[in-house]
Structure formats: structure tokens, C-alpha cells
Symmetry: C2
Subunit: 315 residues, 2 copies
């Protein structure tokens, strides 16, 4: 895959190229910031596993990564995040304004590229997914009653925010394949994406800044309610001291390090981390089962391997 | 046209509809804020004047207005504007975050609708135009050396920021027409759009807040250099007192009302307003000449009329 992922990066570079200085500067920073190319990897594997044509899949992989980047740039701006993968975000390094405009620039470049490929089906999938992601971001902003936020709302959020694009990547890789493969891979990506996001939310509780490139306990500091806390709260009686500490954190504009650490301990003590881990594994198993529709191949095995990566990673 | 524009609004309402509360709320506000539907009007007229099919043009008109709205929502957020057409902006009424996400929501809905129409050519034109608009926004942010900002840079800016979408609207209205009509209408829209933006920039110097719904002299307050000032500066010698007053305004973080009024008077005294008016009329004449390619029709006459609207409007 290493060779193909290098081609994806070259395609990405071509698609976002600009002759306007500030845009080129931001592009260079984004190319440094790029992560493990998980979405293009899924797209390429999905393509191979369903018997597709790799050349087109490389460009589509670049487009999917580009949509991911556009989303990250806007998300970081909306969340006022200062670090991403250990590097300063676009809003922190340049400005809020440039982050908003660059997100639009990147997304419109992705559409231009899909039009150039004359690929209406890929456009259909990826436009729908992008729209779902914006609704996911709204859901995240709008979670007002933190202590009543339930697993149903959380599932909707992580589907929209994260799993939809992983599902889209798998589906777009299999557009030329029989419907059963395409649909199975779309479901695989959705389940994998949910497991991936739950793992991410767990890492926020368990990993240090040095490993993830983000301050730990950041979600709690920002009053984001994720599965570990939801599961822990479900086990705390209405007037328990634990619930009062969580309420205190949610009411504090800037919770202290001690308060964050207290809630992390409470969540762990109430089995919130363990429940979230179990849920991620359950989704991972469901994802694996979806692969049964495909004929055996090294690519199918690699997709199976990507499940392990999603739920076992440390950053 | 009134009946068709009502259908455009109904289509717009359908395309942006959402079952998520905050999105519906923002949508309602945007529908109240909608202006004179100049872009759908141009698209419909361009369609009729080139012999097109109105039903599709109505949906495309809604999409073009939607792209315009998405751009306004992000522009207002980037500029921290608080008023638009006399109503509070999305960033002012809701939040900066919601404005960023809603712009993305609206734009992705526009793409979904174009995919639903299976209209690759319209997608090609409008994706290119949207990308040009983002580069135009960057140009606006990046104009550092205010006093050296020239007419060439200004032309590039207004083409990208404003004229590209008017050109796109005219072109998309004529996609089914012979190439000569399509190209002529695209050029017509570009010239008209430049005249339209110059007129807008003039109104910022000449009209009161009560008429435009924006504080007057706002561009100067925000250190935006437009054609009236560029033309005036071109006639001020290097060390003239006038140029020093302009420099003082550009250096003031928050210029006083008196300073803004001084620069407005200086620009008028140096003939900057008159030069900008002449330039708008020149572009209007060039736009009119492009219509000669079309056969005579009421729609062609109405396109001619839209030129007068663009350069003679008072708000």
C-alpha cells in the first residue's frame, strides 16, 4: 500500500495546488499535518477487495482525504482548537478567517475534481456524507443538557460526524462492484467508523498529550459528553456525589485540572471506560461480519486488519 | 417573472429543508433575509433568452441563490459583520460557529441538488465559480499595502468575489444553448457583475445606513480599498496632505467618524467617485454589447434592463 498511498498524496497535492501565495502556504502546512491516510487506505482496500480499478481509486482516495481535511480545518476553527496531530491548527497558525475560507477552498476543489472524473455516483455519496457531517457538527454544538445526553444521541452524533465519511470512503471504493459488495462495504465503513470514534473518545480519557498531540481530558474541558461519561452516568443514582462532581465540571467555564482528573477517575470507577471498550469491540465484530460478503483476498484481510487498527490504536 | 421567482423560493425552501431544529431555525432566518434574487433572475432570463427549458432553470436558480447564501453566511462570519440587508447576520444572531457550519450545510445541499439533477455541466461551472469566490475572499484578506493597491488587483478581486457567480448564473441558464450564446452570456454576466460590484462599492461612499442596511463608509472603516479610493489615490502626489490622511485612516485600528468623513470628502474631491461611475458605465456598455449575439426577445430586453438595475440602484 505504501506506494499507492504515496500516489494518493501526489494526487492530493495536484488537486489542491493554487497560484495564490497564502493558499499555497496553507496547503504546505496541511500536507505536513496529514495523518495516516486512513480514509484513502480504506477506499483503496475496498476497491481491491471488490475487484475495482486502482488508477481511479487513487484519485478518489485523494478526494476523500481532501474532504476530511476541509472538515478538520472548519472543525478546528469552530472548536477554537490550537493543536492537531501535534502541529498548530490553521486557525491558530494563520487566522480564524483564513481557516473558514481555506475549508471552502479545499471542499470546492474536491468537487471540481469529482466533476473532472465525471463521477456522478461518487459525487452523490460524498455530497451526502459532507452534508451529514455538517449536521453532526450541529448536533455537537447543540448538546445542551449535558447530564441527560444519552447513548442514542451519541450514536447519531458519531455516525454523522465520523462514521459517515469512513462509510463513504468504503462505498466509493466499491462503486463499480456488485450492489451487495457496495452495500456491505458501506455498512462495514459505518460500523468501523463508530468503533473508531468511540476509541478516539476513549483515548481522550486514557492517553497523555505527548502521545495524541492533544491535551488529555480535552473533551471534558470543552464539556463534550462522550460514551465513557454517558455509560458512567447511567450507573450513578440521581443524587449521588459523583453526579454532582460531573455537574460541577459541566457548569465550570474553565474546569480546573483537578476537577477534570476527578471526573476521569469517577468515569473509570463507574466502569464507563470498560463499557465503551466493550461497545467498540461489539461494533468491530459487526463490521467484521460485513466482510463475509466479499471473496477471500489479501485486500479483504487488510480490511479486517483495519478494524484492529481502529480499536487498538494508542493515538 | 414574479411567479417564477416565487417558484425559485419554493425550490430553495425544499432544497435546504432539514429535520434538525437549529438548522431549520437558521433556514427561516435566511429565507427572511433573502434579497432581490438577482442571480436566479439572471439565470431565468438567460435561459429564456437562449431558448431553454424553464422547469430545470427554476431549480438551478434556487441552487445559484443557495450558493450565494452560503457564501454570504461565511463572508459575514469572516468579516464579523453584524448586519445584512437590515437584518442581523447568522454569526451575530446565532454564533460564529453556527455560521461556519451552516455555510457548509447550505453549500453541500446545493451540490446534492445538482447531483440529483444529474447536471454535470452545471456542477462544473458552479464548482469552479465557488472555488474562485474563495480565492477572491483570500485576495480581500491579503491586501496588505493599502495605499499601493491598484486597479488591476481590484479587478481581479471583484471578478473572483462577485462577477464569477453572476457569470456562472448566466452561463448555467444557457447550458443547453449553442456555444456562442453560452459564452456570450457568461461574458455578459462577468461584465455585469463587475459593474454591479463597483456600484456596490460606490454606494458604500454615497448612501446612508437607512438605505443600504449597512453603516456607511463601512469599507473605509474596515480598511477595504475599493475603486473610488484607488482612483482618487492615483491623482494624489506622493507627499500630498490628502494621501497622508488616507494613510492615517489605514493605520487607525478604529478610525473615527470624522476621519472616515474626511476621506470620503477627499475621494469625492479628487474625482474618485466620478471615475468609478465612469468605469461602471463602461463595463455596462461592454455587457450590453455581449447581448447582441442573442435573437431579439422580451428576455433579452429584460437582461438589458438588468444592466440598468445593476448600475443605477440606490441600495
Amino acid at each position: 500500500m505504501a506506494d499507492e498511498l504515496e500516489q494518493v498524496v501526489a494526487e492530493l497535492r495536484r488537486v489542491i495546488a493554487a497560484d495564490f501565495p497564502i493558499v499555497s502556504e496553507v496547503n504546505e502546512h496541511l500536507l505536513q499535518m496529514k495523518g495516516k491516510l486512513f480514509r484513502p487506505t480504506l477506499l483503496l482496500l475496498s476497491n481491491k477487495a471488490s475487484g475495482g480499478n486502482t488508477a481511479r481509486a487513487i484519485t478518489l482516495g485523494a478526494v476523500v482525504e481532501l474532504i476530511h481535511l476541509a472538515t478538520l480545518v472548519h472543525d478546528d476553527s469552530v472548536d477554537h482548537s490550537v493543536l492537531r496531530r501535534g502541529l498548530p491548527t490553521i486557525n491558530a497558525l494563520f487566522s480564524h478567517q483564513i481557516a473558514v475560507i481555506m475549508g471552502d477552498y479545499l471542499y470546492s476543489r474536491a468537487i471540481i475534481e469529482l466533476v473532472r472524473l465525471e463521477d456522478l455516483e461518487a459525487l452523490r455519496v460524498l455530497a451526502r456524507v459532507t452534508n451529514e457531517m455538517t449536521v453532526g457538527e450541529m448536533r455537537q454544538l447543540e448538546a445542551h443538557d449535558k447530564l441527560a445526553y444519552g447513548e442514542g444521541a451519541y450514536d447519531q452524533l458519531i455516525r454523522a460526524k465520523t462514521a459517515s465519511l469512513l462509510s463513504g470512503a468504503c462505498e466509493v471504493g466499491a462503486l463499480a462492484a456488485p450492489a451487495a459488495f457496495r452495500q456491505g462495504l458501506a455498512r462495514f465503513g459505518m460500523l468501523l467508523g463508530m468503533a473508531f470514534q468511540i476509541t478516539d473518545d476513549l483515548l481522550d480519557y486514557t492517553q497523555s498529550e505527548a502521545v495524541t498531540g492533544k491535551p488529555s481530558g480535552l473533551d471534558l474541558r470543552e464539556h463534550k459528553v462522550t460514551l465513557p461519561l454517558i455509560a458512567a452516568l447511567a450507573r450513578m443514582p440521581a443524587d449521588s456525589p459523583g453526579r454532582r462532581v460531573v455537574a460541577e465540571l459541566m457548569e465550570a467555564a474553565e474546569p480546573s485540572d483537578d476537577l477534570v482528573a476527578d471526573v476521569v477517575r469517577l468515569v473509570e470507577g463507574a466502569g464507563g471506560l470498560e463499557t465503551a471498550r466493550q461497545r467498540a469491540l461489539e461494533l468491530a465484530q459487526q463490521a467484521e461480519a460485513e466482510l463475509d460478503v466479499l471473496p477471500p483476498s489479501p485486500a479483504r484481510d487488510a480490511l479486517q486488519g483495519s478494524i484492529a487498527y481502529a480499536v487498538e490504536r494508542r493515538s
